[in-house]
Subunit: 278 residues, 2 copies
């Protein structure tokens, strides 16, 4: 370990430090749950940027600014790893975060693309996500790197996030919207479909029925959770003892955040702390 | 006129100064259009806070902060009147803006409530709006002030704004969502319905079919435009000559803003300027 009085960096890490996870709202909690399930000993700090939600229709410049502020805040809370649990932010802010933070940074795009490239049988991969993620073309680029010759069909589904955030995660309305968005994709006959937004696993049932049950769904958040485990192992930062403890922050409307987390994901939070930026 | 070197205030006004109008996005453009139509000589500066859109589900504290920053910015652009063209912001930020700005400030709630209180035949008034507006209870409070004994039925319709912003302003999906939100209201048999969100006039046809065509719809933005005319007249600030010129600002994604303004409202903008805060 560096001597903070001598070294240029005073970054100190260790297995007992928490993992930092952030998203625009409750969507990233699907990633939180996946990490919690596979690594129950880990401490986690979660930040939901509900004051700026949703991220999906915002510009790269704005998302970079929000992501850097949150990254700096979580770093100040002494985390050992930062997980960007949002595809829209991951699609534009990862290089910036890596340049400006001392902790390792993991997004959800790379793990999701890698897993889909491994799982595809006929090389026909569908991607659904927010406007921002789809416009960034980040999935087609990554998929081609991981597996040459793969074909990709992308569809933006901007209403899926508000549907989830308003609790419409099943029923006739959600099915009708899913039909509208997914009909062209279904016709294209993908063998694998990347859920390229951390809210979408909450619509898994509706999406699967719509594209056909044989299509393999890849949850980018679940893939990221697997990657977290590998990184911590490689860096010898896995926590060995005890049960993980959790702390939740939101930048606005903590009560709504808490209720939604319970309703959608069955998560009980004692308290949601409010932390705003300016 | 005060001498700015002597007086404590250097606020200078006049008929040729523009009217400032702001909203979270394109919704407030319905108010812009109403002002443009009734006062074609007036210059207008419009600010769409697309970086923080939507306002409807954000907390009062956050909305106050955003509103004050935008109000200060528009005041620095030398306006003669500020119109808060958003019900959610109007429901929480008007007193704060009045305390902190030198220009007169008008929201959309008071004019809408006044007009509905005048128009109701049987004193049964429905109000639809975002979560924030409905939770603030500001319409029932105002309506009771303007007309005693009036009865009010309020419904939050949080998906209406994303539907409009994504271009789903008619068709089977929007009708199904409208049916879901408005069924209990229809059963209650209002004679008048306040469209308590500046996005909702864009769904007027669907809403009217759903609640019944005999129900009088009150557009809070249109009501505000009438009030603008009265205030300017009273303060002798009406512009007498020429045709109005317009300037549009957005805090993010100006191209999307421009396209949506054209698609939804038939507005052609030469340019949308980007103005962020922080």
């Amino acid at each position: 370990m560096e001597n903070p009085l001598l070294g240029t960096s005073n970054f100190v890490t260790g297995p007992n430090l928490p993992i930092g996870v952030f998203d625009s709202g409750v969507g990233g909690l699907t990633v939180f749950k996946a990490i919690q399930k596979s690594l129950p000993r880990e401490n986690i700090i979660y930040y939901g940027d509900t004051a700026h939600l949703p991220y999906g229709s915002k510009s790269p410049q704005t998302l970079k600014k929000f992501s850097l502020k949150i990254g700096k805040f979580l770093e100040s809370q002494k985390i050992k790893l930062l997980v960007v649990a949002c595809n829209s932010a991951s699609s534009v802010a990862i290089p910036l975060l890596r340049r400006n933070l001392k902790v390792p940074v993991l997004g959800v795009i790379e793990p999701g693309a890698k897993l889909a490239a491994q799982r595809t049988s006929r090389g026909r991969i569908g991607v659904i996500g927010t406007e921002g993620t789809i416009a960034s073309q980040v999935y087609p680029k990554r998929l081609t790197q991981f597996r040459r010759g793969v074909r990709v069909f992308s569809v933006a589904c901007p209403l899926f996030v508000p549907l989830v955030e308003e609790g419409f995660w099943r029923g006739a309305i959600t099915e009708a919207i899913a039909r509208r968005y997914l009909a062209p994709l279904k016709k294209w006959r993908p063998d694998t479909l990347i859920l390229g937004c951390t809210h979408y696993p909450l619509l898994k049932k509706v999406i699967s029925e719509r594209v056909g049950r044989k299509v393999v769904l890849v949850d980018s958040g679940e893939a990221a959770a697997e990657e977290v485990s590998k990184i911590l192992q490689r860096k010898k930062l896995l926590r060995k003892n005890g049960r993980g403890s959790y702390k939740f922050y939101a930048s606005d409307a903590p009560t709504k955040f808490k209720k939604l987390a319970h309703k959608l994901l069955g998560l009980s939070m004692k308290r949601v702390w409010v932390q705003r930026f300016d």
